[in-house]
């Protein structure tokens, strides 16, 4: 309010400022909340390696060195994922959504790369069953969007099965435009809402 009179800023600018600061706070808070990000690093070691690392101590010659330090990241990473509840996993998911173009159900390079990364995770946790939700932005009609979301889900399923994921681990459901992730009416919001969103349904 003070700023409004002092700098004669337009309400819109102010609102933007407010939004930005809100965002900053949100980012800060979320960063503070999870100092040790449980997400796997970009190139997580294959499951075989992580399984063998705890029982792969160095040879006897280095007995003077304590081995506490070698409680390794990869193991902790695996445990950190699998020990999390499904709810927690889904809220902050290791599985990335695939985004789509307007009126399109085609996986682009970025979408394929995200789905492929998800496939790797699914291979590492073979008990996981996932549902991918097909979502659309609000610009299509509600009726057609139910089918478009279905087609987006099918595109993801086809790609995942091609990568070797067993079809019986995969469920899909279209929500059309009923459950937008971003309630806004901007290009950025719409881009967020055209997605196949992965949900872990059992593990």
């Amino acid at each position: 309010m003070v700023e409004l009179t002092t700098y004669n800023m337009k309400p819109k600018t102010l609102r933007r400022l407010g939004l930005v600061s809100l965002l900053l706070i949100a980012v800060a808070v979320s960063c503070a909340k999870k100092p040790a990000a449980p997400l796997p690093q970009p190139a997580p070691p294959p499951p075989v390696a992580s399984a063998s690392s705890p029982v792969a101590p160095p040879t006897a010659t280095t007995s003077t060195q304590p081995i506490d330090d070698s409680v390794p990241v990869p193991v902790r990473g695996d445990d950190a994922i699998n020990s999390r509840s499904i709810e927690d996993l889904n809220r902050n998911s290791p599985l990335k959504p695939a985004f789509f173009g307007l009126d399109s159900a085609e996986l682009d390079d970025a979408g394929r790369s995200n789905v492929a990364a998800n496939a790797e995770i699914l291979k590492r946790y073979p008990s996981w069953v996932v549902t991918f939700e097909g979502h659309c932005d609000e610009r299509g009609t509600a009726e057609y969007n139910l089918a478009l979301g279905e087609r987006r889900a099918v595109a993801v399923r086809t790609y995942l099965v091609g990568l070797g994921i067993a079809p019986d681990r995969l469920r899909s459901v279209s929500y059309g435009k009923e459950f937008p992730f971003d309630p806004g009416h901007t290009d950025a919001a719409w881009a967020q809402n055209r997605r196949a969103h992965f949900v872990i349904t059992s593990k």
Partner: protein, 464 residues
């Protein structure tokens, strides 16, 4: 609900326990012995064909004053009945309805004999309604409604209704439908209902990332009154449509975690699930005779159209195409289905026989078209939502001429058209007042009326 159209009793039908026109009409003489009046019609009042006309070339001018409360505690109801009947008769635009705020100078009649026809004539009325309401018991009333031809001083219509007070507006609705039938050979819609999907309860369920707002199925009288909830499962419940008997609503529900078709028998509190767990199924549409349901299903890998018997038996696949085929609506004779397909690249409206043959595309000028709804006879036309900018407008394709007309023009986005059972009106959704709301309008785009105001409301269906 539809006393004249269904056989089995419903709670609402019990409102109208009797329609006693015979005795009433016989009792009521023409208010004053008019010179040159035609001889009184004998016996059956239903055979009387006194059609009230207006001045040449103009519709008859009707007046509907407040009803007379013969029991002192019914004054408010008497006023309401007059207003509702006026609104109902106004809705079909067959009559010129003289505004009710111009009646102040007309003396109030207590009996049919006192109706000051000369004064009504001075006001320009060709027809005037005289109605009474009287308490017959703690919870029952008797409503008498007469329609006088002001010029000939003849009684053109006289009915008595008795029943409860659960929805007293229904007395006026019934009289309106009967007057439209008798005076214009027109099937009115005053007793019909509209169903829709609404988020007004603001209930949410946990989503993977954030809470999600659910939608439930609601119904309302055709004029937006008596809105009530049909489903209560805190999930998505979408795109409801009425069965032709107006006693059941089919809709798409996610109560099992994926879209499937449910049928709510709204007067019995029962539910049917005709698809028997095969695939995911959505957008049900009843055949005009109610024996079959067309719907969209992914059971064979991508969205295709199917037809099944109402009980789920005898499933037939109608379309077979790698593109999306969805949103079916039946032709009035039940032999064809109009639907949406994006086989050309964008959603467009097509028509196909229910045997899957004789496919043709009917929209050619639209970049995006969805939600076809086929008008009942005699109107040979299909309404749909067409993308006309950032949003949509309602367009109507006339099958006989191949012409398309537009009935909304960018007042917000206008979607999901549904025809009234007489084909003269459309329900649809619009954002013209802010949030998505259900409106009705004439098939010419005139006579706009807002039906919902609470929350956001979607995808209306109109009952018989």
């Amino acid at each position: 609900m539809h006393a004249s159209r269904t056989n089995s009793p419903t709670p609402w039908m019990l409102l109208i326990l009797s329609v006693v026109g015979v005795a009433l009409l016989a009792q009521v003489p023409a208010p004053a012995p008019a010179a040159g009046a035609p001889p009184a019609q004998p016996q059956q009042p239903s055979e009387i064909q006194l059609v009230i006309s207006g001045d040449p070339g103009t519709p008859p001018r009707y007046a509907v004053p407040d009803f007379v409360a013969l029991s002192p505690d019914l004054a408010e109801l008497a006023r309401t009945l007059g207003q509702v009947l006026w609104d109902d008769l106004n809705f079909e635009r067959e009559f010129y309805m003289i505004p009710r705020d111009t009646y102040a100078t007309i003396p109030t009649a207590r009996t049919a004999e006192e109706v000051p026809l000369a004064a009504w004539r001075e006001l320009g009325a060709d027809a005037v309604v005289f109605g009474t309401v009287q308490r017959t018991d703690a919870n029952t009333v008797r409503v008498q409604i007469r329609l006088f031809d002001v010029r000939s001083r003849q009684s053109a219509f006289a009915k008595e209704y008795s029943g409860g007070l659960a929805n007293p507006r229904l007395y006026a609705h019934t009289a309106s439908d009967e007057i439209h039938q008798q005076q214009r050979a027109l099937r009115g819609v005053a007793r019909t209902k509209i169903t829709f999907s609404s988020d007004r309860n603001r209930e949410t369920i946990a989503g993977p990332v954030q809470n999600r707002e659910v939608k439930e199925v609601y119904i309302a009288d055709y004029d937006g009154q008596n809105q009530r909830r049909v489903t209560a499962n805190r999930q998505l419940n979408l795109m409801p449509v009425w069965a032709p008997d107006a006693r059941a609503i089919a809709y798409t529900s996610y109560r099992r975690g994926y879209p499937d078709i449910f049928i709510a028998l709204i007067y019995q509190g029962l539910q049917e699930t005709p698809t028997n767990g095969v695939g995911q199924n959505w957008l049900p549409s009843f055949s005009p005779d109610g024996s079959q349901i067309a719907f969209t299903s992914n059971r064979d890998g991508n969205p295709e159209l199917y037809v099944m018997n109402r009980d789920g038996g005898n499933v037939r696949r109608v379309t077979n195409n790698p593109a999306i085929d969805t949103t079916p609506t039946w032709s009035p004779n039940g032999t064809q289905i109009a639907f949406t397909s994006d086989r050309s690249g964008q959603p467009q409206i097509y028509v196909v026989g229910i045997d899957g043959l004789n496919l043709r595309r009917i929209t050619t000028m639209d970049s995006y078209a969805d939600r076809p709804t086929w008008a009942p006879a005699p109107f040979n036309e299909i309404a749909y939502a067409a993308r006309t900018g950032p949003g949509y407008d309602i367009r109507i394709f006339e099958l006989a001429t191949g012409m398309t007309r537009q009935v909304t023009f960018g007042e917000g986005t206008n979607e999901s058209p549904a025809f009234s059972p007489n084909g003269r009106h459309l329900a649809f959704t619009s954002t013209r007042t802010g949030r998505v709301q259900v409106f009705t309008m004439g098939r010419d785009g005139k006579g706009l009326k807002q039906i919902t105001r609470d929350g956001s409301n979607y995808t209306p269906g109109w009952s018989n």
